[in-house]
């Protein structure tokens, strides 16, 4: 272990300390007056940030606040326009990730940087700076096994990456960084893709590594995790550090206010505690019986799903990404063929009907990837606004679009949904994620749909827009719409859903009323562990 730490440091660098013997009087990282702009956008505005050996320093902020830019500078991906970076007291100028790795900086990115068809050992060899021709995967695998045991990571070096779960892949990333001699570990929103149990394990690992003397930077916007794991917390807003504090000196609410710059309803009342408005429940709006479908690779992705949503009811679907969520939304909206079972919408058989017919039946779809299947980035706002209803009066007359009606329709949509844009002629791509999503949501919900299929409606959206989107979905529920809400964010499900069903490997593991929902239990079900609890009611 220690041999790697030394050999992987470039000889020009005077680093001699290892994590076990940190030089406590010098900060591990010191970034001073860092500025970086992309075109006219200032991503980092004279940021000063430091982290010590043996410390977990959390960096929180909304999407677009500049967290990832700052860390990409540290990882050698971007070069700052101005400012200085010091590692262990020595000034450094990284020109590539290779330089950063050489100085002991390891990043665990949100999207893992692993080559899927390769084995764990091959992925590690890829990062090794060692001359010689042969792959030596056997030697690397041996050393990885030892390292994996030492840090209790439980990684099999021979396994292929595509065979591993998301949580395991993350541990591969950590193991690889440790092997390559990283002493400063940066985690970019590492818990976004994990089950609650895996999150717990990761946070414990982070504390453990800080205890060994590593310097850990933890980027997140999940404030309870930050409060649990961090020694210090820095809050970024619009490219500037607005505060650096400690968990003891602050609370979630204060942090949220600092992140957004104003009070937020969601953080004031814990959503799960909020009494839910009673809505008159009608009959079953969506009814799935024995629904099965194939995934992208032609393998079964949904296996005999039974679900029912009544009008005025929101059913949340929880689960780790890739367990059939996308396929579920696509079969209901007619985008993916059903191989067995039935889909009934408002009592009418809709199995394998064309998507247009399902849309006309009053189904709104807020897809997983808004720029891939919901909106057209290169077209202007009015084109995007009428994408759903362009073929109906008053927007058209026969084959011709009525420009004036289209303009009026678009302006109404932008105003009603508080979409901030220079005008309807702007290209959709230039809007922020939050404004894009508000436009999409407004378009889909405009026709008072009877069934709403919403997949990750607030992913990649800032806190303010999240609040607006949640309000819109609540209003639809109060109006009597049935909602199928698919999300990886358990907080979002707890805040909006009446019942939560957990998807694992294409099956419904169980359905729980939100009122009696327990995170631990949902987490176990997300990991595929059958719950023995009596209160789990299979499909009310």
């Amino acid at each position: 272990m220690s041999q790697h730490l030394i050999t992987s440091s470039p000889s020009s660098s005077p680093i001699t300390s290892s994590p076990q013997h940190p030089s406590t009087h010098r900060p591990a990282i010191a970034m001073r007056d860092i500025s970086k702009r992309f075109g006219t956008v200032i991503a980092n505005d004279r940021i000063t940030f430091d982290a010590s050996w043996g410390e977990v320093h959390a960096l929180v902020g909304e999407n677009g606040a500049g967290k990832s830019t700052l860390m990409s500078i540290l990882a050698g991906l971007y070069r700052p326009d101005s400012g200085a970076v010091e590692i262990d007291g020595q000034p450094v100028h990284f020109r590539s990730p290779r330089d950063a790795i050489g100085h002991g900086i390891g990043m665990v990115y949100q999207h893992f940087m692993l080559v899927e068809p390769f084995s764990v050992a091959e992925n590690v060899v890829l990062g090794e700076r060692r001359s010689g021709v042969n792959l030596e995967t056997a030697r690397v695998a041996r050393e990885l096994t030892a390292l994996s045991e030492k840090y209790a990571l439980g990684v099999d070096p021979q396994a292929k990456i595509w065979q591993l779960s998301v949580g395991e892949q993350q541990r591969v990333e950590i193991l690889r960084l440790l092997y390559l001699g990283a002493r400063i570990l940066v985690f970019d929103e590492p818990t976004a893709v994990l089950t609650p149990q895996e999150t717990h394990g990761l946070l414990r690992n982070l504390r453990g590594m800080a205890g060994q003397g590593f310097s850990v930077v933890f980027i997140s916007h999940k404030l309870d995790e930050v409060q649990e794991v961090a020694d210090r917390i820095s809050v970024l807003r619009r490219g500037q550090i607005v505060a650096t504090t400690t968990p003891a000196a602050t609370d979630r609410r204060t942090l949220a206010r600092m992140m957004v710059g104003r009070e937020l309803a969601d953080f004031v009342a814990r959503p799960a505690d909020e009494p839910r408005a009673e809505v008159d429940r009608g009959g079953a709006m969506l009814e799935l019986r024995g629904l099965s479908a194939l995934g992208e690779k032609g393998l079964p992705a949904l296996r005999e799903i039974d679900l029912e949503i009544r009008s005025g009811e929101t059913l949340g679907i929880a689960g780790v990404a890739g367990n059939g969520q996308r396929e579920l939304a696509e079969t209901v909206t007619g985008l993916r063929p059903v191989t067995a079972g039935t889909v009934r919408i408002d009592g009418k058989a809709m199995t394998n009907r064309p998507a247009a017919e399902i849309t006309r039946a009053g189904v709104a779809h807020i897809p997983e990837d808004r720029l891939a299947t919901g909106l057209i980035g290169g077209m202007d706002l009015s084109a995007n606004a009428i994408l759903r209803d362009y073929g109906q009066p008053p927007l058209c007359h026969g084959p011709f679009l009525l420009t004036r009606a289209v303009s009026a329709f678009t302006d109404r949509l932008l105003t009603a949904n508080d979409v901030k844009a220079p005008g309807r002629w702007t290209k959709l791509r230039t809007l922020s994620g939050g404004n894009q999503q508000k436009l999409l949501l407004g378009r889909e919900l405009a026709g008072e749909p009877r069934l709403i299929v919403a997949v990750h409606p607030t992913r990649g959206v800032d806190v303010g827009a999240t609040e607006a989107i949640h309000d819109a979905l609540r209003a639809q529920r109060a109006r009597g719409a049935a909602t199928l809400l698919i999300s990886e964010d358990l907080d979002e499900l707890l805040a909006l859903a009446d019942r939560i069903a957990v998807l694992f490997a294409g099956r419904i593991m169980g359905t729980i009323p939100t009122a009696s929902a327990d995170r631990e239990q949902i987490g176990l079900m997300m990991a595929g562990i059958e719950s023995r609890e009596a209160e789990v009611v299979m499909d009310v």
Partner: protein, 315 residues
């Protein structure tokens, strides 16, 4: 009809298949390493033509077939450098750049070569029997009574297989075609390596051209590759990006090419037009099958093939 399908006939067809398939094999190996690096090069046909011209021209100028082969390597590398500059450096569309390269190579070779059309090169790669190995029954006749270029190509197949699957450099090559972001994060210089493999792939395709103009069809004629570059591109898919399978595929096409003459001389009653159509029919079939996403996955296509890599994309 009497000597049709006798052992002697079959062996002579197989030996001719190896000889005729060598030009395609070089081009196919060139495209293979290019695609392994994540870059699609549809300019192989044009590069082969430039290689064929440079091979014939270099040989006529110097009198040595080896100098011709060297000129072909350089010409191929120079052509591919255009593709590398456009697609790796400037991140232009790889399909458009490749097609442009084919059109450019076809026109340029016809223009530059107009003075040496039909001129026989003073030297060419002739049959060299390898001592002892050439005596092996059947196999010796097929593999070891060939020209030097054939031996080079066989050695190259073995070398590339070892290089791609057994060395650190090969691991990096596969990684930049599979997941350039991951390679970049691990400190691999994606752009530099991609450009390098595009240029080396072009050099091999150029040598493939010389294998025609200094080997099986000595001398330069306009458009003499007759679509072999396209066959090579299709073969890479058929070969599932594996050099050993590329050799099998190239010899199969060589067999079809060699077989049509021999079938005609053996008096089989099939239209020669139909027979000369076969390689292209097969090429279309391979391309149609391979455009299916599922097939590509099953064959193990490099995941980032055809996708330009830009670090800022990650945001």
């Amino acid at each position: 009809m009497s000597d049709f399908l006798t052992p002697t006939f079959v062996i002579s067809v197989l030996a001719a298949a190896v000889a005729a398939g060598t030009a395609i094999l070089f081009a196919c190996l060139g495209e293979l390493i290019t695609e392994r690096a994540g870059v699609l090069n549809l300019g192989i046909e044009g590069i082969m033509l430039m290689g064929a011209l440079a091979g014939a021209g270099g040989c006529i100028w110097s009198g040595s077939a080896w100098v011709g082969a060297g000129a072909a390597l350089l010409a191929g590398a120079a052509m591919a450098a255009i593709h590398a500059l456009l697609c790796v450096g400037l991140r232009a569309n790889q399909v458009v750049s490749g097609l442009a390269l084919t059109i450019f190579g076809t026109g340029l070779s016809a223009f530059l070569g107009r003075d040496i059309v039909g001129m026989p090169p003073p030297s060419s790669f002739r049959r060299i029997d390898i001592p002892f190995l050439a005596e092996i029954p059947i196999l010796g006749r097929i593999l070891f009574q060939q020209s030097a270029l054939v031996y080079v190509s066989i050695a190259l197949v073995v070398f590339l297989w070892w290089y791609i699957f057994r060395t650190r450099a090969g691991l990096r090559l596969r990684a930049i075609g599979e997941r350039p972001e991951a390679a970049d994060a691990m400190g691999v210089d994606v752009a530099r390596l991609r450009a390098l493999y595009v240029v080396m792939g072009g050099a091999l395709a150029g040598l493939g051209g010389a294998a025609l103009s200094l080997g099986t069809n000595p001398g330069w004629t306009e458009g003499m590759t007759a679509g072999r570059g396209w066959i090579a591109v299709a073969l890479v898919i058929f070969a599932a990006w594996n050099p050993a399978r590329a050799a099998a595929g190239a010899y199969l096409f060589g067999g079809v090419e060699a077989g049509q003459f021999r079938l005609q001389t053996a008096g089989v009653d099939l239209s020669p037009f139909f027979l000369s159509m076969l390689p292209y029919l097969f090429t279309i079939l391979v391309l149609v099958l391979s455009t299916r996403e599922a097939t590509r996955r099953a064959l193990g296509a490099p995941a980032a093939l055809g996708r330009a890599y830009m670090r800022e994309d990650r945001g």
